[in-house]
């Protein structure tokens, strides 16, 4: 567990919360993810107590994991807090009362405010995007932004596809623009999309695949690129050539599925 930002996913349904947590964990194994769901009576609903407990648990684990917690034997509390300033917890809720309950929990305990933020994002897409971003070691602001940006995913993919159809000539091969064929049968499904987007974020170059942002796991998944599809990988920036060849190699290698 190395990521400094954790996720708490709050749903009306315990099963939904658990399921989305599982999905996001698979794509971002280094991130602490907790799913909380169901009402006080165990049925559909949201329990304030359960939300508070999950937040407290996750903050405790983060504080314990912070590498420089109390390094000089000083007051542990202050240091742990200092270490957690750019880390913290991003919370996602599914519908009405989940979101309201999280907001109420934040209002009841002022001390949570600087380390816990509620994302305004679609539950599944936001959780996956936030998890993959957090996996790369991003700070609280970046993970929150990634969750919020997930709401624009569909529009971004549609825009990229209509640009493609408008017949922008896809140019020849160059060091910063290459075509690659998807080899594994399932194509860029969740796990490979997460691998590619994490690698792109790590490389720090602006990479697009068929016009969509390759650092966005959601946009990659939305391409629906299955076996045999030709993808155009393009990049700009200092390490553009390296980024293109790395991504092309990953796709050609079939993600260990061929």
């Amino acid at each position: 567990m190395t990521a400094r930002v954790a996720l708490v996913l709050v749903s009306h349904s315990a099963e939904l919360a658990r399921g989305v947590a599982q999905l996001a964990e698979q794509m971002a194994p280094d991130v602490l993810i907790r799913g909380v769901g169901g009402g006080p009576d165990g049925g559909l609903g949201t329990s304030l107590d359960a939300v508070q407990k999950a937040l407290a648990d996750v903050l405790t684990i983060l504080a314990d994991a912070a590498p420089d917690a109390a390094p000089d034997g000083g007051p542990a509390g202050a240091d742990a807090l200092g270490a957690a300033v750019d880390g913290g917890v991003v919370v996602l809720g599914d519908l009405g009362s989940s979101v309201l309950t999280v907001e109420a929990a934040l209002e009841l305990d002022d001390s949570l405010a600087e380390r816990v933020v509620l994302a305004r994002a679609p539950f599944v897409e936001g959780a996956v995007a936030a998890a993959v971003t957090a996996h790369g070691g991003a700070d609280l602001t970046a993970v929150l932004e990634s969750a919020s940006a997930s709401v624009r995913m569909f529009a971004a993919v549609e825009a990229a596809q209509s640009l493609e159809e408008d017949g922008a000539p896809s140019g020849g091969e160059s060091q910063t623009s290459r075509t690659v064929t998807v080899r594994n049968s399932l194509g860029l499904h969740a796990r490979p999309a997460a691998l590619v987007s994490r690698k792109v974020a790590e490389l720090g170059a602006a990479v697009t695949i068929d016009g969509v942002d390759a650092s966005s796991v959601l946009q990659l998944m939305a391409l629906g690129a299955t076996q045999g599809r030709e993808l155009r990988v393009e990049a700009t920036g200092e390490r553009a050539a390296e980024a293109v060849s790395t991504v092309v190699e990953m796709i050609e290698a079939g993600f260990g599925e061929v």
Partner: protein
């Protein structure tokens, strides 16, 4: 109607407790009606959820009463804070955090042993502010905000006219009741009912109705002394 023994009507912590206990009774009586309203335009859990919440509040009040000495120095806010945290923990649906926030904000402006008419207005205003900011709703969207808003306006007017505590609470309760009825022809634009669009017209909003019950109980608690169901009246 002027009554002798104004002292009995002081809006103190005991009044707040009577208010809450009466609310629990009113919600229990109206549970099926609220659920039916919610079944028509929402997810059908409002009556049951609120009933569970207020039942838990009563249990906590009983527990607290048994551990408290006779010379307690409770404030009105202490009682309302207990209601807030209990509802948030036990209701489960959206009305938990909504009512919870209303009582929480109300508690913040009533941290004293007794409240006068202007303070009653402040309590209602704080509750309205809590509900509308938590629910991101405003007047005219067919929600409980409509009832709270009407109650605040009527209470302000009554307090401005120099009304007593009971006058102010009566004005608030009657206005909330009317406002709840007035939600029937409205089309919902917030909350679960908004998914129904035009089809939400013709049904009363369950949150506005329960708000009217809450405020009706506040008035009734001010008119009456300890009720027979209040364990301390038997002492």
């Amino acid at each position: 109607m002027k009554q002798e023994g104004l002292k009995d009507m002081a809006l103190d912590a005991d009044w707040a407790e009577r208010w809450v206990r009466r609310t629990a009774d009113a919600v229990a009586d109206a549970k099926d009606e609220l659920t039916e309203l919610d079944r028509q335009i929402g997810d059908g859990d409002h009556g049951e959820n609120l009933h569970r919440g207020f039942r838990a509040v009563v249990v906590r009040l009983d527990d607290e009463a048994s551990g408290r000495g006779s010379a307690d120095e409770r404030t009105v806010g202490d009682v309302l804070k207990l209601v807030a945290t209990t509802l948030m923990s036990t209701v489960g649906g959206a009305s938990g955090p909504l009512y919870g926030t209303a009582y929480l904000r109300a508690a913040k402006v009533s941290g004293r042993p007794q409240i006068d008419p202007p303070a009653v207005v402040a309590v209602l205003e704080a509750a309205l502010e809590g509900v509308s900011s938590r629910g991101k709703a405003t007047v005219g969207e067919k929600t409980m905000v409509d009832a709270w808003h009407a109650a605040v306006e009527a209470a302000e007017a009554a307090a401005g006219d120099g009304g007593s505590e009971v006058d102010v609470l009566r004005a608030a309760a009657e206005a909330a009741d009317k406002a709840a009825t007035a939600t029937i022809p409205m089309v919902a634009t917030k909350g679960r009912a908004s998914y129904l669009g035009e089809r939400s017209a013709g049904h009363e909003d369950p949150g506005a109705r329960s708000t009217a019950l809450v405020l009706g109980a506040a008035m009734a608690a001010a008119l009456s002394g300890p009720t027979p169901t209040d364990p301390r009246s038997a002492a």
